[in-house]
């Protein structure tokens, strides 16, 4: 038998903390992903689900605990069998900032490791100026980060941008200080010194819902995002597909806005993040009916090709709208469960903020 000093690499890794972009091992990502999906599972269950030995799981969990990414709960004593010690992601273990670009506003959100929104603010935008002055955006990102206690700020894993596909075209048409997406990304990385990840806005919103919301346990579902337009994504075996034809329907809030305008009523409220809208009368019911029909048509068309049992409807608009639409879908398709999304404070920004987490901590 031969002896060599043990390899000190892992300890050295740990001491460098979150800021070092070390390559996280596949097994560590596997354990973190499992804990995201199954809050409070034990080390034994981790072993069963991953095939890792108890001692290997022990080493990984110990290392993640020391980094503050995972925390151990109180022992659970059942009536039969040995007690189990539940493990969970530590909400304060990591944070991320997400920026969601929409036609009328830009949302900036800071979320914790389990997706809770800790900070949220908005900047105005319009179609001619999809990007704010980069100084405003950098200021908002800094504000999000300084909302954390000083000692937690080094735990921000990165910044995500959720951007509509046509945003570069929109930017090209704007006057004067136009910024391209790439330039904006580079500027944020340069100024904030954190990695910046970019994704399509609706795909990001679906990703956020898969990671933190009602879609967590779902392999397959159909995702709708109700914003200015009504847009959809199909999720099959955790992969998010973006169809060409169904890229966007003109039955979103822009349609409601024009219904209101036709009747000479103000429409500012529908672009705010107000949790309640006042009675909007006939314009609202007309629009809601059309929107519901559009959803049903899409679902009906898709069920002929793909099997899915769940529809998730995401929107920043008041929860009762998503609930009403989901009720409608449920009545029309008894075999399909329609769920309002859990992420309601700026789904795009939360989805954007989930990007650094998936890139740095999770298996893809």
């Amino acid at each position: 038998m031969r002896f060599a000093p043990p390899n000190p690499l892992r300890i050295a890794d740990r001491a460098s903390g979150l800021n070092a972009l070390s390559v996280r091992s596949y097994n560590e990502r596997l354990v973190l992903s499992l804990l995201l999906q199954n809050e409070g599972i034990s080390r034994m269950e981790i072993g069963e689900k991953t095939g890792l030995s108890a001692q290997t799981a022990s080493v990984i969990v110990r290392s993640l605990e020391q980094e503050g990414l995972v925390s151990q709960g109180e022992a659970q004593r059942g009536r039969v069998g040995p007690p189990t010690i539940p493990l969970s992601l530590n909400p304060e273990g990591a944070y991320a900032v997400g920026v969601g670009f929409s036609r009328r506003r830009i949302d900036i959100a800071l979320i914790d490791f389990i997706g809770t929104v800790r900070f949220h603010m908005q900047l105005p935008a319009d179609e001619a100026n999809p990007f704010p002055q980069s100084g405003d955006l950098l200021g908002a990102i800094r504000q999000a980060m300084t909302s954390l206690p000083v000692e937690a700020r080094s735990r921000v894993a990165g910044i995500g941008l959720a951007v509509p596909d046509d945003v570069d075209t929109m930017a090209a048409t704007r006057n004067g200080s136009s910024t391209s997406l790439k330039a904006l990304q580079a500027e944020i990385e340069e100024q904030i010194k954190l990695p910046v990840f970019v994704q399509n806005d609706i795909t990001a919103a679906a990703g956020g819902e898969s990671m933190f919301g009602v879609a967590k346990p779902l392999n397959d579902y159909l995702f709708f995002y109700l914003g200015a337009r009504l847009q959809s994504r199909l999720i099959l075996n955790h992969q998010i597909y973006k169809g060409n034809s169904s890229a966007s329907f003109d039955h979103g809030l822009m349609r409601l806005e024009s219904e209101l305008a036709m009747r000479g009523r103000p429409s500012e409220i529908i672009w705010s993040s107000s949790p309640e809208w006042p009675g909007l009368g006939e314009a609202y019911s007309t629009w809601l009916g059309e929107c519901s029909n559009r959803l049903k048509t899409s679902i009906s068309a898709l069920t002929q090709f793909v099997e899915f049992r769940t529809v998730v409807l995401s929107s920043y608009a008041p929860q009762k709208i998503a609930e009403a639409l989901c009720d409608d879908i449920g009545r029309e398709f008894p075999a399909i469960e329609a769920l309002p999304a859990r992420v309601t404070i700026s789904p795009k920004a939360v989805g954007a903020a989930s990007l650094p987490f998936s890139s740095r901590f999770m298996i893809q």
């Binding site: 038998m1 002896f3 000093p5 043990p6 390899n7 000190p8 892992r10 300890i11 034990s42 080390r43 034994m44 269950e45 981790i46 072993g47 030995s53 108890a54 001692q55 290997t56 799981a57 022990s58 080493v59 110990r62 290392s63 151990q72 022992a75 039969v80 069998g81 040995p82 007690p83 189990t84 010690i85």
Partner: protein, 216 residues
């Protein structure tokens, strides 16, 4: 029923701080006893604590039988089948007569782990779960043991890190006793009854945290 072997030195034996080697805490007071009551009737707790036990050294003064390595094999075979082996050793290796740095003490623990794996006294000839417990750091004042333990208190503060590096490297369960208890002021390197209670309770939790299936 599952079996756990507690393999250690005088702090596993339950020697009372500042008293002679024959004075020992009672079976329910020392940490293996606390572990037994905490783990409950599903576990059989085996105590193997010998005062002066080292990891791998024959002690030229106290005797060759203090060598933790030569005794480990017969001990493992005597008590097989074992589901878990807890090793808490290292303090005695710091005696000046052995002249070993903390890293070398950790390598001594590594030898014991090697032997356990080779002997495979676990269920069905498997390797049992192995938990390395780093002993709590010594107090600076070790009273009349000062010359025997010259330089040892400082080294003892480095054992936990060295043991953890080893546990990571060999993929073992690890617990730092220094995270829950300190050595008694009475002699500077033994733990008192309250510390035995705290350590036994914390280790029971660490044993539970390994995760055990329902069937035995």
């Amino acid at each position: 029923m599952r079996s756990v072997l507690c393999y250690g030195d005088s702090n596993t034996h339950g020697q009372i701080p500042g008293r002679g080697p024959l004075e020992r805490y009672g079976p329910d007071e020392r940490w293996p006893g606390i572990l037994r009551s905490q783990l409950g009737p599903d576990w059989y707790v085996i105590e193997e604590g010998l005062s002066g036990r080292t990891t791998v050294h024959d002690d030229p003064i106290e005797g060759a039988h203090k060598n933790g390595r030569t005794y480990l094999r017969p001990c493992l075979q005597s008590h097989a089948t074992l589901d878990l082996v807890i090793i808490m050793l290292g303090t005695n290796d710091l005696k000046i007569r052995f002249n070993k740095p903390p890293s070398e003490v950790a390598m001594g623990i590594g030898c014991l782990v090697y032997d356990i794996k080779e002997l495979a006294p676990g269920p069905g000839g498997s390797t049992p779960e192995i938990m390395i417990v780093a002993p709590p750091p010594m107090q600076d004042d070790v009273k009349e043991w000062k010359s025997i333990f010259a330089g040892a208190p400082e080294k003892s503060r480095l054992l936990a890190l060295e043991f953890e590096v080893l546990a990571d490297s060999l993929e073992l369960h690890f617990f730092d006793a220094g995270s829950v208890v300190s050595c008694s002021e009475a002699d500077g390197f033994h733990i008192d009854a309250e510390a035995h209670r705290l350590l036994g309770t914390a280790l029971a939790r660490a044993v539970d945290a390994i995760g055990w299936s329902r069937s035995t």
